[in-house]
């Protein structure tokens, strides 16, 4: 990586190096979608009809992976109520399971902390993500970014919405909120996604982690000298029990928040567009009545949650839905399985923005519920409004033989959404 040779502190040189990196195609990172599984849902339903809780990992027909005989058998949960029960009981089901992978790439973060440490640390950054605080960014930031992206293809009549919009707007929004120079986004976007997909490629994930650390080091120095109106300036001055955070703690926060902001909304907004484009009647309904956008987004989060697997560890032996769980067992919550639980939703596999509103676990649940949920809702709404305001006759327009689909296991989204449109 061009960056490692640069040392941490020469910001101008870093900028120059970064600006030499061109924006890239999300297709390049296809292998980050750990497991290119297109439709895991029939398997989840089959499992759920046997039992909402299973001993062992999900087998998608590739044969079961080798289990380590020295650790308790892992547990897979595909039922809604059972998923909620695990996420709510954060004393029994610990987040420490994230130590293994995420601590290596991100450092110690709130993702792996339990109470009360989790609450104290989350409170340092959560005010930035409250809906009232975010409201100022709607017009000032998000709409402008999306309009600029639309300007770049408005004359063409045809575009890939993933490449042109969903892959590009969330990273620019979170960059501004954190306080990272927006023009650097092609590089930190790549690192963010590579970091998140460390399970698919360990060396690449670790290299991305190191690159981000060096990059943040320079930004932190700058913000200490010249505080601005952004989260990094907050973090360098905030105190916990009378102590400022040390640099490593701040890097950890940023290595969590940047990928979280970059990757999840890119996938979630892509899934919403996929749902609407494959159901043109519902797309038209939303076009006619923009007040339907929030419920359309909630339905897409239920139907295709972008982060589809959450992990916990049982701290002592217990039982869930009658299935015994050994103390120390890892518990995999398949959010996509929970969100299509036939016992909770009618026609769960159907994308229907008019269904009777029920809660879902697309943002997770319990004390670790997505901290960026208000940001995700706001920026996806603004992006869809901009798309509908400016692009008429929007429809999927794949190349011959091109299969447009959502794929992935832990993270799910469409790789591309080629559309034709008429400029308004």
């Amino acid at each position: 990586m061009a960056f490692e040779s640069l040392g941490g502190n020469d910001m101008a040189a870093q900028r120059e190096a970064i600006n030499g990196i061109l924006p890239f195609d999300p297709n390049e990172l296809k292998d980050t979608v750990s497991g290119n599984i297109v439709n895991p849902y029939p398997r989840y339903e089959e499992l759920r009809r046997e039992s909402p809780v299973h001993v062992g990992a999900v087998d998608f027909g590739e044969g079961a992976s080798d289990l380590n005989p020295d650790v308790p058998l892992p547990i897979t949960v595909v039922g809604f109520d059972e998923t909620v029960a695990v996420l709510r009981d954060n004393g029994l089901y610990s987040s420490c399971v994230y130590e293994i992978v995420t601590e290596a790439v991100m450092g110690r973060t709130i993702l792996q902390m339990d109470e009360p440490e989790h609450r104290e640390h989350r409170a340092l950054v959560s005010p930035t993500f409250r809906s009232k605080v975010l409201a100022r960014w709607e017009e000032e930031l998000v709409r402008g970014i999306v309009d600029d992206l639309i300007d770049s293809f408005i004359d063409k009549g045809h575009v890939d919405l993933v490449q042109a919009i969903t892959f590009n707007f969330p990273v620019q929004v979170i960059a501004r909120i954190l306080g990272l120079p927006q023009q650097d986004y092609p590089s930190f976007q790549r690192w963010a996604i590579e970091l998140n997909s460390v399970a698919a490629n360990w060396e690449r994930g670790m290299a991305a982690s190191a690159a981000l650390r060096d990059y943040f080091a320079a930004v932190l120095d700058e913000r200490r000298k010249n505080p601005a109106d952004d989260l990094i300036s907050e973090l360098v001055h905030v105190e916990l029990d009378g102590q400022r955070l040390d640099d490593e703690e701040i890097y950890s926060f940023l290595r969590l928040l940047l990928p979280a902001g970059v990757e999840t909304t890119y996938r979630a907004s892509g899934n919403l567009l996929f749902g609407l484009l494959t159901h043109p009647d519902q797309l038209n309904a939303v076009r006619e009545d923009r007040s339907l956008i929030p419920q359309a987004f909630e339905e897409s989060l239920r139907w295709e949650p972008p982060v589809a697997v959450v992990l916990r560890r049982a701290m002592e032996s217990t039982e869930l839905a009658g299935v015994p769980i050994e103390g120390g067992a890892d518990v995999a919550l398949m959010l996509g399985g929970a969100n299509r639980d036939h016992r909770k939703y009618e026609n769960p596999d159907e994308f229907n923005i008019f269904r009777k509103e029920r809660q879902h676990v697309g943002f997770g649940f319990g004390v670790h519920v997505c901290m960026g949920m208000h940001l995700a809702r706001m920026e996806t709404r603004i992006a869809l409004e901009a798309i509908l305001d400016r692009l008429d006759d929007l429809k999927l327009d794949p190349a011959p033989g091109q299969d447009i689909r959502i794929e992935g296991l832990a993270f799910r989204s469409p790789v591309s959404l080629p559309v034709s449109f008429t400029a308004r």
């Binding site: 909620v84 709510r88 409250r130 029920r358 879902h360 676990v361 319990g366 519920v369």
Partner: protein, 72 residues
Amino acid sequence: MAEIRIDLEKCMGSGNCSYWAPGSFDLDDDGKVLVRDPATDEESRLVMAAEGCPVGAISIWHGERRIDQGAP
């Protein structure tokens, strides 16, 4: 008329309630839930807010009968 009951000990300040029923719920400066005016939201929204609370800090009552399901 529905009554909102809050368990402030449980409240984690997710703000999800104010998304589902913005007239009824808000967060104070410490990030804890504040009840505004329950009459401004339809009862179904209050129930969504209660069932959408990630930590189950909200319940909705008709007299002594609880009308939300306590969980999603």
